[in-house]
Point group: C2
Chain length 149, copies 2
């Protein structure tokens, strides 16, 4: 039941953008360096975030990435589901695919998986990037050049 690095790295990158991208685009290599993530690998992840409309890019010199929306309008759930797919614990309760199991009406375990899925979504959808930015600023009120996320 672990999240892969996709979700974790992606969340780190998005938080990095929220903290550092106030005035303009941020180059991928600077994010990768600060967050200690392979640049080429992060490239693949941010491509997914871009296609999902969570970040926007600018090519060429001085290009980079920027959040597509305000941090308060991007939830942790948006980011994780974009990179990990559904957070459902079993396939039979993946969103919009619940009907696909022929035994759904008789299955006594399905309600368990639904509850687990919904409780996970509830947590991650209740936290916005802005919440994390606020936490970050509080923790690093003094040491402004630290980037542990």
């Amino acid at each position: 039941m672990r999240l892969s690095t996709k979700g974790r790295y992606g969340l780190k990158a998005m938080l990095d953008l929220a903290v550092n991208g106030q005035n303009g685009h941020i180059a991928l290599n600077s994010i990768a360096e600060r967050q200690n993530i392979s640049e080429h690998y992060l490239e693949q992840l941010i491509a997914v975030l871009r296609k999902a409309g969570l970040v926007e890019s600018m090519r060429g010199a001085q290009g980079g990435y920027i959040l597509a929306r305000s941090p308060k309008d991007i939830t942790v759930g948006d980011i994780l589901r974009t990179l990990e797919g559904s957070l459902a614990p079993v396939d039979c309760v993946v969103e919009n695919k619940e009907h696909e199991c022929s035994q759904a009406d008789y299955c006594v375990t399905k309600p368990i998986w639904l509850k687990v899925r919904d409780s996970i979504n509830k947590v991650v959808d209740s936290i916005t990037l802005q919440d994390l930015v606020d936490d970050y600023k509080e923790v690093y009120a003094q040491a402004t050049d630290m980037y542990y996320i």
Copy 2:
């Protein structure tokens, strides 16, 4: 974030034992047949459940398995965590290992993972095998020879 078949098969097997094991031991092959699980594979899973003290075995002819405790004293969480390990979404919030990350005090994402972990555990710990047996009996009030779990 999917559960593996270990957890799902294990839960099915335990529910099968709760439903069918009222009067004595149940042979593994009958569980495997009813639940449509590879017998040899289920053997490996039930060995884990036995070592964890959730089921007891009797060897030899007419032997088999039986729940070690009353179904009302076995939760879905007990079964899933035994077979899957911690249900934590990331390693840094695996139970009793939270301290191992040197950045734990500064990490702004850790509280997210803690909330996710706790919400998952809360759901699965609130449901007992007896609850599932009751659901099962309700669904199959008429068709008593069906075994979809």
